[in-house]
Subunit: 277 residues, 2 copies
């Protein structure tokens, strides 16, 4: 089948976060027959965890991922312990909303460090500590490789190969990755490394588009079809491996999609999903 299964579409709530609070987003998903959602912690906190879980259940939404844990590197032991505590809470929240996985933005250089190799070691160690907890309670952790332009301040895992290496090192049980095309479309080893990852490790699949030119490093992502990413080829490749999870739309767009009527944004996501994914 060329076109994607429309039931696999999931909405990362960042996509309309400027226009709607989480309860309105959940209502919007129901109204537009979008069956999946991926909420952010700050929005969940604002609505309340219990209320969020209840609204998601009553609207029969699938939670494709919970955003987000991570940020493992710290300037000292105390900072890392604080991050560890917070990450365990994120696991608990992910369980409460019945998320498919906790998405991890692993963190960059702590403080004024220039030691990216050291930061990567801290990520591996922190992930190892969190796994002791998450495996016990049964919440899968999804490492999200972020685009190298975020290596300093957001995530020093920047390729699928790195994510696979960490999975090799720490073990596959309850550990895998979220493949976000915005971050990985350029990767010369994209197809090789998703094959290496295989069905078991691919816990999420995130879509949007890379615009040319891109006006801002963070807040100028494109709607599927408006940029240069061959989303369909990537989607078919992960599904050929057996991936049966969601296609999660995550668009940070200060000057375009965040300025639009959110109902029209959701309608556009649905339409573009069929035509471009």
């Amino acid at each position: 089948m060329q076109q994607p299964d429309p039931r696999r579409l999931s909405l990362n709530t960042a996509t309309v976060r400027k226009q709607w609070s989480l309860d309105k987003i959940i209502d919007g998903c129901a109204r537009h027959e979008i069956h999946g959602i991926s909420p952010w912690r700050d929005q969940v906190q604002a609505l309340g965890l219990e209320r969020t879980a209840q609204m998601i259940r009553s609207n029969e939404l699938t939670v494709s991922g919970y955003c987000r844990g991570g940020m493992f590197p710290g300037i000292d032991e105390a900072a890392r312990r604080t991050a560890d505590d917070d990450n365990r809470r994120a696991v608990d929240e992910a369980l409460a909303v019945n998320a498919a996985c906790l998405v991890l933005v692993v963190g960059g250089l702590p403080g004024d460090s220039k030691d990216i190799t050291g930061a990567r070691s801290q990520v591996r160690d922190g992930l190892g500590r969190l796994l002791e907890y998450s495996r016990n309670v049964g919440m899968p952790l999804a490492i999200e490789p972020l685009h190298p332009m975020y290596a300093a301040d957001r995530a020093c895992i920047n390729t699928l190969e790195q994510a696979n290496d960490v999975c090799d090192e720490l073990g596959d049980d309850g550990l895998g990755m979220a493949v976000d095309l915005y971050h990985t479309w350029w990767d010369p080893k994209f197809f090789q490394q998703i094959e290496r990852a295989g069905r078991k490790r691919i816990l999420g699949f995130h879509i949007c588009d890379w615009l040319v030119p891109t006006q801002h490093l963070l807040l100028d992502r494109g709607m599927m079809g408006d940029g240069v990413i061959d989303i369909r080829a990537a989607r078919q490749a992960v599904e050929a491996l057996g991936y049966q999870g969601a296609h999660e739309v995550e668009i940070f767009s200060e000057h375009n999609w965040w300025q639009r009527d959110p109902d029209s944004v959701l309608a556009t996501c649905k339409a573009r999903h069929l035509t471009h994914c």
Copy 2:
């Protein structure tokens, strides 16, 4: 020795291109006792190729690289032929100014293509055609891996590993790479791949810094020491392999360094080279 050899400092003329024309930049290098220069083609054209070559000779400047050739992918055969012609002219100009190498920004997706694998093949093929010419006249070609944020519109070779793979495929004779830390500092295989490249393939070494936050994808590079790159570790690693070429400063900085008095920019480059490289 911890500190770098000050005689290895080279000025990529982009660093003060908003303030000075090329003749003034050459004079500035002489005045500040900066012994290397790397000029851009548009500046050379404005000053005249003969005049440029003569000024560089009379000031005894080393030309660490000539900027730039490349842009191999084209929407059709005619476009690629036009690029080929232009690249041969760039080789001739590089010879005329006695450059150590012609730096190649290899090009991104042609037209509205989403086929980055195809673009990479076009790069390899175009490079192969140019090598037939450049090897004959004796001008080394330096592939410059560009940061993945430029994969769509500037260069689809984005890692040192890709550059090494292309060198393996096309042969080392007259072919190597320019290692620009702005583009490659995040690369998890940085040290592994410069070792694989070895002295023979490392034809250039470019420095500046990655600022946090970075305000613009193109025009917000930092002065050495103002960002997160461990320049000294990288410089020592390439020199441990036997690299004896220049440390070329290349800073595109619309709102900071391009707004300053160019003499103070050159003085800062000299000082920061010693303290941070």
